[in-house]
């Protein structure tokens, strides 16, 4: 396990990038490079990172980056991985870095295909729970009740469980993360780098612009997501489910903060009724009952 002091000082996400103040994804991006170094080929589809990198002829990235079509991250990575194999350059890590829309909606086919073909790459979905780049429209990863510009009275459906969809592909490594827990994310990336095959990491990345909270609160919001249990930190390694710190201490409901603490900090949830908050709390508790069973069982996901 790496500690925060042991992270490399080198920065490959450079100064002058164009992310919003308090951008959760940009924190995750910085950690990505600290974990993997600069021997990476990055594929970025249309997403907030298209903006973060800055416009031509500038860039804020010190690693080779190929911008690509919205739905094509998985397939593009397959092509790059094949070329690297042919060229004998397999010490380079291929990374797909896509938002939630580019992953759970429009990009799910190419990602599923790449995973089924056992493409050797790390796919990271940085999830800010809406189409941020286009002005905060609802995605399949938007949670129940959340305001977006296309769900002005709140989303009526639940969030798609993408990590478990990926686990169903029988890939060797699936994990969740959150930039509020930097060492957890870095350790997962380093582990993923050493595993051959498709690795999927789903990062909950709070977005002050879309979630409507003060931009100084990004880390706090991420922590609350984990502490309330609406986001759990876990790994599924060769099908075996394991909760990670601090989620592994939160199996007992009494240890988890009430979801209301998380929801009430974000204006996107401010219209929720008590009954709706109750419903969300109930779903979280159900999820945790499932996590508890999975974590204590020999069975694989």
């Amino acid at each position: 396990m790496v500690s925060i002091k042991e992270l490399p000082r080198e920065e490959y996400l450079l100064k002058g990038h164009a992310a919003c103040a308090g951008c959760g994804p940009s924190i995750a991006l910085r950690l990505l490079f600290k974990a993997l170094g600069n021997k990476v080929f990055l594929v970025v589809p249309a997403c907030c990172t298209t903006v973060i990198q800055g416009p031509y002829p500038y860039t804020s990235f010190a690693v080779p980056l190929q911008n690509m079509l919205f739905e094509a991250t998985g397939a593009t990575a397959s092509g790059i991985a094949a070329a690297l194999r042919i060229r004998g350059l397999e010490d380079i890590t291929v990374v797909g870095w896509a938002g939630d829309g580019g992953t759970v909606d429009i990009g799910i086919q190419a990602l599923s295909g790449a995973a089924e073909r056992e493409t050797n790459f790390i796919y990271i979905c940085y999830d800010n729970e809406a189409y941020g780049n286009t002005g905060l429209q609802r995605s399949g990863a938007t949670p129940y009740g959340a305001w977006t510009t296309t769900t002005p009275t709140g989303k009526k459906e639940r969030k798609k469980n993408m990590p478990f969809i990926m686990a169903a592909h029988k890939i060797p490594y699936v994990a969740t993360a959150c930039p509020s827990y930097p060492t957890d994310f870095v350790n997962k990336l380093r582990k993923a780098k050493e595993i051959k095959g498709t690795k999927y990491i789903h990062v909950l990345a709070p977005c002050p612009t879309g979630w409507r909270y003060d931009s100084s609160k990004t880390v706090e919001i991420g922590r609350l997501a984990v502490q309330t249990g609406i986001w759990a930190l876990y790994e599924i390694e060769n099908g075996k489910f394991r909760l990670n710190f601090p989620s592994d201490r939160l199996v007992d409901k009494a240890k988890r903060k009430p979801i209301k603490e998380y929801l009430s900090m974000q204006e996107r949830f401010r219209h929720l009724t008590e009954a709706e908050i109750e419903k969300i709390q109930m779903w979280i508790d159900e999820d945790w009952e499932y996590y508890r069973k999975l974590a204590s069982s020999e069975a694989c996901v």
Binding site: L69, T76, Q109, S112
Partner: protein, 392 residues
């Protein structure tokens, strides 16, 4: 040693991908393209072809994988048809915009609805404006030779664009013909190892294709136009050099037949060009001054060659295996556009024929010629666009 094989154009396309030493092949099956990717799968699994074969889950992903592989520094190949090509549309723009020299075989097939598996050019011509070079073949030997030539052209630093090599479904794709597969050493000599304008490189980390403001975008488009013009100049040179080395040559941009002193020139694409030659022979026997010009390269369009032909012809008859609904066939439109600035233009008659695989034989073409000559005699084209063999 060169060898003669008797095989279908699809299998021949597989031989050509192998001979070109494509290193990553990404493809998805669609009728009538499938036997290309089956042949390549055989070559790769038997070890005859040293390549990674990515069995993608859609054509969109096939093109995306080719883009990734080409950007990561290897020669790529794919093939598709009709709806598969249409599904790739967005990625076609990306490939040319990223200036990646990908070569793709398009086995021409009509677009639905209704379903059709038979040939016309509505699939590839719908992709006219994607920035891809487009070649149209008339026989299986030309399929092999054009694929090799296309790689050489696309990887020329004055071009760096992708190319489609088009062949008509079933008429060529599933038809056996003898083809000379040239000596591998000589092909290697003609086609050096893969070259592209840029490559992903950890020692030289570039951000490729990030957001470009209106201050810069037009220049990138202009560079593609320049590359197309360069290709127009290079194609006849490459074709001539290929002819000297291997003995097969196709007239560069336009395959001309008996066009000298012809009053009527029949302008075609693809296999209709072969039938047109038979028609010309028959008509010439009857003393009619007829020639045939097969547009081999549709993008870049051979404007200057068309003008040269128009200097001597008194009427040009275009035969389009295609219709741009609400207008006419593209070939008719573009031949007309090419001649607009000429002082003394020939008449131009547009014919639509062979959609969805309907036969266009030399007899059909003789009929087209007779009608065109009649209009020439009367001094005017009586119908701007005539649909041939249409049920009333």
């Amino acid at each position: 040693m060169a060898q003669i094989v008797i095989d279908t154009a699809n299998h021949i396309a597989g031989y050509a991908a192998k001979a070109a030493r494509a290193k990553v092949v990404a493809a998805y099956p669609i009728t009538p393209q499938t036997t290309i990717v089956e042949k390549i799968a055989e070559f790769v699994e038997s070890g005859e072809m040293e390549a990674e074969y990515i069995r993608v889950e859609s054509e969109h992903s096939a093109m995306a994988a080719c883009i990734g592989a080409a950007a990561a520094g290897v020669r790529t190949f794919t093939a598709t048809s009709a709806h598969g090509l249409a599904l790739m549309h967005e990625a076609l723009h990306w490939a040319s915009g990223a200036r990646l020299p990908i070569v793709m075989v398009v086995v021409n097939r009509a677009m639905g609805a209704p379903w059709s598996i038979w040939p016309d050019f509505s699939d590839s011509l719908s992709q006219r404006d994607t920035g891809w070079l487009q070649f149209y073949c008339a026989d299986n030997q030309e399929v092999f030779d054009t694929i090799i030539q296309a790689y050489r052209l696309c990887e020329d630093e004055r071009v760096f664009l992708p190319a489609m090599v088009c062949l008509e479904g079933f008429l060529l794709s599933h038809t056996y013909m003898p083809v000379q597969i040239h000596n591998q050493n000589e092909i290697d000599d003609f086609l050096p190892p893969y070259k592209s304008g840029w490559t992903l490189d950890v020692n030289n980390p570039v951000t490729h294709a990030n957001l470009v403001s209106p201050e810069w975008y037009m220049e990138f488009r202009y560079m593609i136009q320049e590359a197309m013009e360069n290709a127009k100049r290079l194609i006849p040179e490459i074709d001539m050099e290929y002819g000297r080395r291997f003995g097969f040559q196709y007239g560069g941009l336009v395959d001309k037949y008996q066009c000298e002193n012809a009053d009527l020139i029949i302008c075609t694409m693809g296999t209709i060009g072969c039938e047109a030659k038979v028609a010309v022979d028959n008509l010439r026997k009857n003393g009619l001054k007829v020639g045939a010009a097969r547009i081999r390269v549709y993008r870049p369009f051979p404007v200057e060659e068309i003008r040269k032909l128009a200097l001597q012809a008194r009427i040009i008859a275009t035969i389009d295996r295609h219709i741009s609904f609400g207008m006419e066939g593209f070939l008719a439109s573009e031949v007309k556009a090419s001649l607009y600035h000429m002082e003394d233009k020939p008449l131009i008659a547009g014919f639509i024929a062979g959609l969805g695989g309907r036969d266009v034989t030399f007899k059909t073409i003789e009929g087209i010629a007779q009608k065109s000559l009649k209009w020439l005699e009367r001094g005017r084209v009586e119908k701007e666009t005539e649909w041939i063999d249409l049920r009333e």
